[in-house]
């Protein structure tokens, strides 16, 4: 009996790998297990080969394993594509009749999905629920959890459809119980305490986390142009827009998206836009407009592999250099790089606050792996915490008859009024301007304005740093280093090798770079290994540029796929 199991559901695009994955995730959540699920899909709507992989454990898990223990194939071509990925002693579930296979290899396990679905529910569509039940049977779950999970996933469907799904799952479940490998895949039962805590547990993916964070932060204007892997954020905000009174507008291009958001922010709304690298390229002039006009702006770059169109549905961390320096001219910005869905939620809220407090653009740098991966976490605080706006209140505004938008102050931050609230007018300009916002070419004023937008604001921002996460670094033999979505890999690799003195440092803010903190954490390190989803070790270079600290080695992956913890551990071991 293992403490964990990884299950991969694979098939063509359009076959419902995600539906089964979502249902299974709910089932395992209901049963009190921890899970980490991620998706690998091609940039197509039909055909090809996609998979959804769930890792289930009695302990919290945060990253993919190298090889799944069970692979469920929904079509014939998946069998050949996925066979090589199967763990030793794993099983590959196939539908021999449907796939027209002559014989079965030793690792294969035949389940007549189609035939059963027709018999039980009169529609082959229900194969998905059979698969769901099958897995539950193989790992030895109680069937009530399956019923619960199915009810949750299909809550919007008719009673009849739900019943058909439950019946199909039941048929799969019976088969699973009787599987020839029975003992091997049974999961330990979950303790009572954990089961009691289940109602307080949610499943969260990066896209939902950012959307919920934005809503929580009081975002009232959301605009974007669709681009994978950022699109889901817009979908989720749009789904709640009516209830939350949010304007969601699909822009004609990313240039429009960013300029609309800036206009809305200027006029008084909390505003946000999201995109991926290619769209971010188009937004860059807008980024510098937000900085010059000192208009708060929250932007998401959900990275995918570039250059150009790259791999639309895959993952990479290669925009780091770009986003910390994007935009012409010099100005203060913040770039966050959350490592988990939970971090992404809280960082999104913080991003709005920092953007408004400092009147600057704030970027959230994520990637496909984080956007589309699901984990279980304790329910987010859904209370109605007061939102601090850092603007001159409506009441106060009523008495203001004389106003300078860019009044020079020690902090570099000018009190921000909203047009039409105050009695005076205000001038805001993308040209260099004086305190009242009118265009100027005065050399002394130019210097003061640069200091305001750059030096003074940066000074304040250093007190607002999102602190790096660190683990087991005192007396470490090796310190693993990363940013963004590799947090789970760093955590699990360091935990696995804890006794061999491996620790990690993870940055969820890459700009302004936390130089002092890194010097404290890393100055005495014997060996630093950066783990990055890019081809140059961009974080390692940034660390060296900002602190002089050199890493000994970089583990780089730039094939568009995320790291798996087993492979990373294998690469680290020889260094110990």
């Amino acid at each position: 009996m293992a403490n964990e199991i990884s299950i991969r559901i694979t098939g063509e695009a359009g076959q419902g790998t995600q539906t089964i994955g979502d249902a299974l995730s709910q089932v395992f959540k209901s049963a009190g297990y921890h899970l980490f699920a991620y998706q690998d899909f091609m940039s197509r709507i039909r055909g090809g080969n996609n998979f959804f992989e769930i890792r289930v454990s009695i302990k919290p898990v945060h990253s993919p394993r190298h090889k799944p223990d069970i692979i469920i194939c929904l079509d014939k071509s998946s069998v050949d594509i996925q066979k090589k990925d199967l763990a030793i002693d794993g099983i590959l579930v196939v539908d021999k009749t449907k796939f027209g296979m002559a014989g079965l290899e030793e690792s294969m396990y035949d389940v007549a999905f189609n035939e059963i679905a027709l018999r039980v529910a009169n529609d082959t569509l229900y194969s998905n629920s059979i698969a769901c039940g099958l897995i539950a049977g193989i790992v030895g779950l109680d069937f009530t959890f399956v019923t619960q999970g199915i009810q949750e996933v299909f809550s919007h469907k008719s009673k009849e459809i739900i019943q058909n799904n439950v019946n199909s799952a039941r048929a799969g479940f019976e088969l699973g119980l009787a599987n020839p490998h029975k003992e091997m895949f049974l999961l330990p039962t979950v303790g009572k305490d954990r089961l009691a805590a289940v109602p307080g547990v949610i499943l969260l993916d990066g896209s939902t986390a950012i959307a919920l964070g934005a809503i929580k932060a009081g975002c009232k204007f959301y605009t974007a142009y669709p681009m994978s892997p950022s699109t889901n954020i817009m979908n989720i905000v749009a789904g709640r827009a009516a209830v939350e009174h949010i304007v969601v507008e699909q822009a004609e291009d990313e240039i429009a998206a960013v300029n609309m958001a800036i206009g809305a922010s200027f006029a008084g709304s909390r505003a946000m836009t999201s995109t991926s690298g290619g769209g971010f390229c188009l937004m860059v002039e807008g980024l510098s407009l937000a900085a010059m006009t000192e208009t708060p702006l929250v932007m998401v770059d959900a990275q995918r592999p570039g250059p150009a169109t790259g791999f639309p549905t895959r993952t990479e961390q290669a925009d780091l250099d770009f986003v910390i320096s994007a935009g012409h001219g010099e100005f203060a910005r913040v770039v966050y790089s959350p490592g988990s869905a939970q971090q992404a939620y809280f960082i999104t809220i913080k991003a709005f606050n920092i953007a408004e407090k400092y009147q600057i653009p704030v970027l959230i740098l994520t990637d496909q792996h984080l956007q589309d991966s699901i984990t279980d976490i304790p329910a987010l605080d859904q209370g109605t915490a007061a939102i601090e706006r850092f603007i001159i209140s409506k009441e106060e505004s009523a008495n203001i008859t004389s106003y300078k938008r860019y009044a020079l102050t020690d902090s570099g931050i000018s009190p921000r009024a909203i047009p039409s609230w105050i009695q005076d007018v205000m001038y805001v300009d993308s040209d260099e301007h004086d305190e009242s916002g009118h265009i100027t070419e005065d050399a002394a004023m130019r210097k003061q304005m640069v200091q305001k937008r750059l030096h003074k604001k940066l000074h304040g921002l250093l007190n607002e740093l999102e602190q790096p996460t660190s683990f087991n670094i005192d007396d470490a033999q090796v310190i693993l280093l990363g940013f963004g979505s590799t947090l789970g890999i760093l955590q699990e690799a360091a935990q696995a090798l804890e006794k061999r003195k491996v620790g990690f440092v993870h940055l969820s803010q890459v700009w302004p770079f936390p130089s002092d903190e890194m010097l404290k954490l890393l100055s005495n390190a014997r060996m630093i290994i950066s783990i990055e989803n890019n081809a140059q070790g961009q974080l390692a270079r940034l660390l060296r540029r900002e602190t002089g600290i050199k890493v000994s080695k970089s583990i780089l992956k730039y094939d568009g796929r995320p790291f798996d913890v087993d492979s990373v551990i294998e690469i680290i071991k020889p260094e110990l």
Binding site: K220, F221, T223, A242, H245, V247, E249, A251, E252, D253, I255, A256, A257, N259, M260, A261, I262, G263, A264, S265, F266, A267, G268, S269, A271, E285, G286, L289, T293, I418, P419, S420, I422, Q423, D424, V425, M426, Y427, V428, D429, S430, D431, G437, H438, I439
Partner: protein, 259 residues
């Protein structure tokens, strides 16, 4: 409200006799008649000579990026419905760099008024062809004369579905002020293309050239017929119509987007 209530302290950086002065006078005249406080008016612009106009009026000003006045104006109007939003832009700013935003904001139909100071040239960058430059005009870039067909912005706007389409002439300040006021009072996206002599870089389309050609659409003109409006919008050369070519009511973005 009087003209003085909209007087800005910012010194004007245009050439003397620039057509923009007439447009500025008309804009202020329209605002006086509108009767709203300067604090409730927002002028949005991109970059160009025309785009400097918001600085020369006492009203809120958002002077954004070249070509991007419309998205910023859409965002501001949507976020703060109390603001009367007027865009002052140029032929390069609005029809060139920002052409895509023109098309799609006409489709959105936010309640904003767009005044295009159309001098048929890129003036701020010293005289290159714009989308409305007449064919054959020689510039430092178009050394053999412009070979691209001249864009008819009003036809474009009508084709895309604009509900309020007008043309003015910067010398006819009272007429233009009326057009601007009508545009502001129109509920939805109002496009006003204004013939604006650039005395420095456009030596063809001068005050005289326009004066000899423009004629006002009179009371007999029916501004609710799309095909007539379309024909009028294409009239260019010996005779150029000014006035409201098309004026029909349409649901605005705000109405369509709901509460």
């Amino acid at each position: 409200m009087e003209m003085n209530d909209f007087k800005s302290s910012d010194p004007i950086a245009w050439c003397s006799r620039c057509g923009n002065f007439g447009i500025l006078t008309s804009l202020k005249g329209a605002l006086v008649k509108l009767g709203k406080q300067p604090k409730d008016i927002l002028l949005v612009s991109g970059i160009g000579q025309a785009a400097k106009m918001p600085h020369y009026v006492k009203a809120n000003c958002f002077n954004g990026l070249h070509g991007r006045a419309l998205p910023a104006a859409f965002g501001a109007k949507t976020a703060n419905k109390d603001l009367t939003v007027v865009v002052t832009t140029g032929d390069g700013d609005c029809y060139g760099e920002g052409g895509n935003h023109l098309i799609h904001n006409i489709r959105r139909n936010p309640d904003i008024t767009v005044i295009v100071c159309d001098n048929q040239i890129y003036a701020l960058t010293k005289g290159q062809a714009s989308p409305t430059t007449d064919e054959g005009i020689v510039t430092k870039v178009q050394t053999e004369g412009v070979i691209l067909e001249h864009l008819s912005p009003l036809s474009l706007a009508l084709a895309v579905g604009a509900g309020f389409v007008a043309r003015g002439f910067s010398q006819e300040t009272d007429h233009l002020a009326d057009l601007i006021l009508s545009g502001i009072n129109y509920k939805g996206f109002a496009l006003i293309d204004v013939l604006q002599p650039c005395v420095t870089f456009n030596k063809k389309n001068t005050y005289e050239w326009y004066s000899q050609r423009v004629y006002k659409l009179d009371a007999s003109y029916k501004s609710t017929d799309l095909s007539i409006a379309f024909q009028k919008s294409l009239e260019w050369g010996d005779r150029i119509p000014i006035g409201i070519l098309y004026n029909v009511s349409k649901p605005t973005y705000e109405q369509k987007a709901g509460p």
